[in-house]
Symmetry: C2
Subunit: 177 residues, 2 copies
């Protein structure tokens, strides 16, 4: 699966401890590959056992003691291999669309309020992305690294924009019934 590769990418961007990774997942990589701290700790253990990462020296492993990891050459190679390997898109699951379809059969009772709530959530997310856009990608920056990362952010922005439009349209539909 993809989680180990998400972690390798995050660690290459910056060596971190489990908790730091968890926090960074919550506001960056996690936008398109979320993970709980549990998954992350477990995966860090596996990656270390496989020789893809190691704990930074000068740190004895103990509970409640911060333990930072960095990527080893074998880990970078494995990530590069995976990145270049063709993969099918994973099946796509969306509860809200499913509920709309159900609502067509059993009635729309109660769903409108939740559409509004989702609209609000997407608007917040969009605002967050635009914040990042302004902060991390000012006009001058366009190394090829930056351009790729910016492309990913654009996908996020455009997806949120799509949802906002769709939800707005759906809510209009409800008003005219």
């Amino acid at each position: 699966m993809s989680l180990p590769y998400a972690i390798l990418t995050a660690l290459l961007e910056k060596p971190s401890s489990g908790l730091e990774l968890t926090r960074r997942f919550d506001k960056s990589i996690g936008y398109f590959w979320s993970a709980t701290h549990q998954q992350i700790y477990r995966e860090l253990g596996k990656l270390e056992a496989e020789g893809f990462i190691r704990t930074l020296p000068s740190q004895q492993p103990a509970r409640g003691q911060k333990k930072s990891y960095e990527v080893l050459p074998a880990g970078r190679a494995e990530l590069a291999r995976w990145t270049g390997t063709s993969q099918d898109p994973r099946p796509h699951r969306d509860t809200l669309l499913l509920r709309m379809r159900a609502a067509a059969v059993v009635g729309t009772e109660g769903i409108e309020a939740d559409l509004r709530r989702h609209l609000d959530l997407h608007q917040r997310q969009l605002a967050e992305y635009e914040e990042i856009d302004k902060r991390d990608f000012p006009p001058g920056k366009d190394s090829s690294q930056d351009r790729l990362r910016h492309l990913v952010l654009r996908a996020g922005i455009d997806l949120e924009t799509f949802w906002i439009q769709w939800l707005t349209h759906a809510l209009e539909e409800f008003e005219t019934v």
Copy 2:
């Protein structure tokens, strides 16, 4: 989770056997809630045990013997309850965006071909949706049922359109490096 509700919706639209449901999932509900035949058979068993569905009469249960199900009033009520219940959007995972982010760190070797392949897949999917659009939603049809189902289809069409645009843009980016 949502699978049982996807199945209830499909069965309300039309009573079916396990295999028929599997096929219908592959070309309708499955566009936003996919499931394997395995999941479906297991879930049908559970739904029957809970008294939400039953096998159509005049059918003895035997291997290799078709067994059709229909939704009972309790099942419809449960689906209506679920549909009207507020739910958080589930975390969103996308391998391709993750790979782009990884590519920013370890290089883009090999990813371009796969972007083209994905572009092709999305174009086919869009064509399929537009086919359904033409076939199932001619201008006259707009009962409130139809309008909701059409709204869901529009989401599919617009999402595919988004991906096609994004991938096209990404590939242009690659050419100018």
